[in-house]
């Protein structure tokens, strides 16, 4: 091999790497899928906030299950190293203040869900959620992890530029938007943008991390290898919402489901990218999470995981059917 090619090969490789990175992160994307994820995430957050509101004093304040003093001690380092999961809600004791804050949280989240002033309500909804989760330690689970993650990435994008009140407002205020930079920022166009691409990529990569470590953790157990894990999940009475313990009569079936779950989770991060394997991986994701939602009593968690997986759908896959119907209608009218 000549010395020239010794330099040329790594250079070519490095250039390919930079080009690939550039294409991966900085290709403009349409906002349609993100808008659908926004609506679903916003509604899920809203539902979660309403449920907390139904017993607000049980979750926030000095008389909560985990009271302000204890939560501050847990995160503040009284029992071990302090962490950075801070929230001003630790200091809110007055019921009026707590209710005012929570009503604001509900209002902002509702606006985020319907896409009203999304440029402002999206980061605000995420911030209020962050403050809430850092206060509600001890009563949280996977649902909170995924909704907070989605809200965080959605606020980076133009997810409110379509399927939203903002989109309607933009149409009404077209001339004003054209002449005002601020208004143009507040009510962005639904053209493909790099921000949408970055938000989509971040959701996708984050999901890969979730599944990879979920799978690796399962691989540390024995029940996922001997196949009994599915049995021990469906026979847990406190999770159970629909009794499917009859599955226990079919060891080959439930053990196969256990093995499939582990392999699918571990290899999700690799197999979800190629177009050939993506539909299979997403199809399994749908079935696994629908199963969790229906049988293991976590309809909220199962649903939000399905929503998060939608980040791997191309905008065209969701929007083209709608366009097709519009075209058909237009054709019928004109014909």
């Amino acid at each position: 091999m000549s010395s020239q090619s010794l330099i040329a090969i790594p250079r070519r490789y490095a250039k390919g790497l930079v080009d690939g990175w550039d294409q991966f992160w900085f290709t403009p994307e349409s906002p349609h899928v993100l808008a659908i994820i926004r609506i679903a995430t916003g509604l899920m957050l809203l539902y979660s906030h309403l449920v907390v509101a139904s017993q607000l004093n049980a979750f926030l304040g000095d008389d909560a299950w985990i009271n302000n003093r204890t939560i501050a001690a847990i995160h503040g380092g009284e029992y071990g190293p302090a962490d950075a999961a801070r929230s001003y809600l630790w200091h809110f004791s007055n019921p009026l203040l707590l209710w005012g804050h929570h009503l604001l949280t509900i209002l902002v989240t509702a606006c985020f869900a319907i896409g009203l002033l999304t440029r402002i309500t999206a980061p605000l909804a995420w911030w209020l959620q962050i403050m809430l989760v850092h206060r509600m330690t001890g009563t949280l689970f996977g649902l909170d992890q995924i909704t907070t993650m989605l809200a965080m990435y959605l606020m980076l994008s133009r997810c409110g530029s379509v399927y939203s009140i903002d989109a309607i407002l933009r149409r009404f205020l077209l001339k004003e938007v054209a002449s005002s930079k601020r208004l143009s920022w507040l009510l962005p166009s639904d053209e493909p943008s790099v921000a949408n691409g970055i938000a989509t990529r971040l959701i996708q990569i984050h999901l890969c991390v979730v599944y990879l470590f979920g799978g690796l953790w399962k691989a540390r157990g024995t029940a996922w290898w001997d196949g009994t894990a599915i049995w021990f999940a469906i026979s847990n009475a406190q999770y159970q919402s629909i009794d499917v313990t009859w599955l226990g009569r079919y060891p080959r079936v439930f053990s196969a489901l256990a093995h499939l779950t582990v392999f699918w989770e571990v290899f999700y991060c690799a197999l979800v990218w190629p177009k050939m394997t993506r539909p299979i991986v997403l199809g399994i994701a749908f079935m696994v999470h629908a199963g969790i939602a229906l049988f293991l009593g976590m309809i909220t968690f199962g649903t939000i995981m399905i929503v998060a997986n939608a980040a791997f759908l191309a905008p065209a896959a969701l929007v083209r059917p709608l366009l097709g119907r519009r075209d058909d209608t237009a054709r019928q009218k004109s014909g």
Binding site: F59, D63, F141, N236, A237
Partner: protein
């Protein structure tokens, strides 16, 4: 009419006339410097996303892998504040038993009511039930045996101090739960205990006729070093000693 084979852009979508005048061109990636800056921010963020699950996955009897902890250390605070510090060990490594809190609430007249958290009959919708479920799991997770620590730990001042700190966390969480119940049920005596609800094994379920809600699957977790009842505790009136009622009486068949 949009060409169905063309890549989707908003030009394919119905938009009001004139809207394209000022934003027809998709927003373009900015200059090289901006891209480099954004790339650095993205890498740091992804470091925060991966750091904690990696450190958590390397946990063993002596703590996490030193290299994983070192890797995570620079982004630890960022990851904690952004609520990225999760292990994602859903139903892992093995789907284990679940736990609930049983509370005995005794009023002035001596009438005792037993409550259970979580309880599907009391906490609806399901998400509210699940929040209480997580609370019971949290109380169980933070449980640490009461002091004094065994001699081999007591001889090491820092280990003994850590024992007491970790135990205090459990005491404070339990006391906070008790305080909440006392506010909910004023002028009542309140006592709680942790109960483990394990799943039946396959032969137990099919041949032994032990249903998933069978009372034989319940085990009271006593607040002692090894979880067995101490003499005092087994006699104490503060601890509800009634038979633990199964959540739903299920026929044995």
């Amino acid at each position: 009419m949009p060409d169905s084979s063309a890549p989707l852009t908003t030009k394919n979508l119905r938009r009001p006339e004139g809207d394209r005048a000022f934003d027809a061109a998709p927003s373009r990636p900015s200059g090289r410097r901006v891209k480099i800056a954004v790339s650095v921010v993205l890498l740091i963020h992804l470091w925060g996303v991966v750091g904690r699950p990696f450190e958590f996955a390397t946990q063993g009897p002596f703590g996490s892998s030193p290299s994983a902890s070192t890797f995570y250390s620079p982004v630890r605070a960022y990851s904690q504040f952004m609520y990225l510090d999760h292990g994602y060990a859903f139903f892992a490594p093995d789907p284990g038993p679940s736990h609930f809190i049983q509370a005995a609430i005794t009023d002035d007249g001596g009438t005792r009511v037993e409550m259970k958290y979580p309880d599907l009959a009391e906490q609806r919708p399901r998400l509210l039930y699940h929040r209480h479920f997580m609370l019971a799991e949290f109380l169980n997770d933070v449980h640490y045996p009461p002091g004094p620590p065994p001699a081999e730990i007591a001889s090491d001042a820092s280990a003994a101090a850590e024992w007491m700190r970790t135990r205090k966390r459990f005491d404070d969480v339990r006391d906070s739960i008790l305080h909440h119940l006392r506010v909910e049920y004023p002028r009542c005596d309140v006592a709680i205990r942790r109960v483990e609800h394990r799943q039946p094994g396959l032969p137990e379920f099919f041949e032994g006729k032990v249903g998933t809600r069978d009372e034989r699957l319940l085990r009271v977790l006593f607040d002692t070093f090894d979880g067995s009842p101490s003499v005092d505790e087994s006699q104490s009136l503060e601890v509800p000693r009634e038979t633990v009622a199964p959540p739903d009486a299920e026929p044995a068949s």
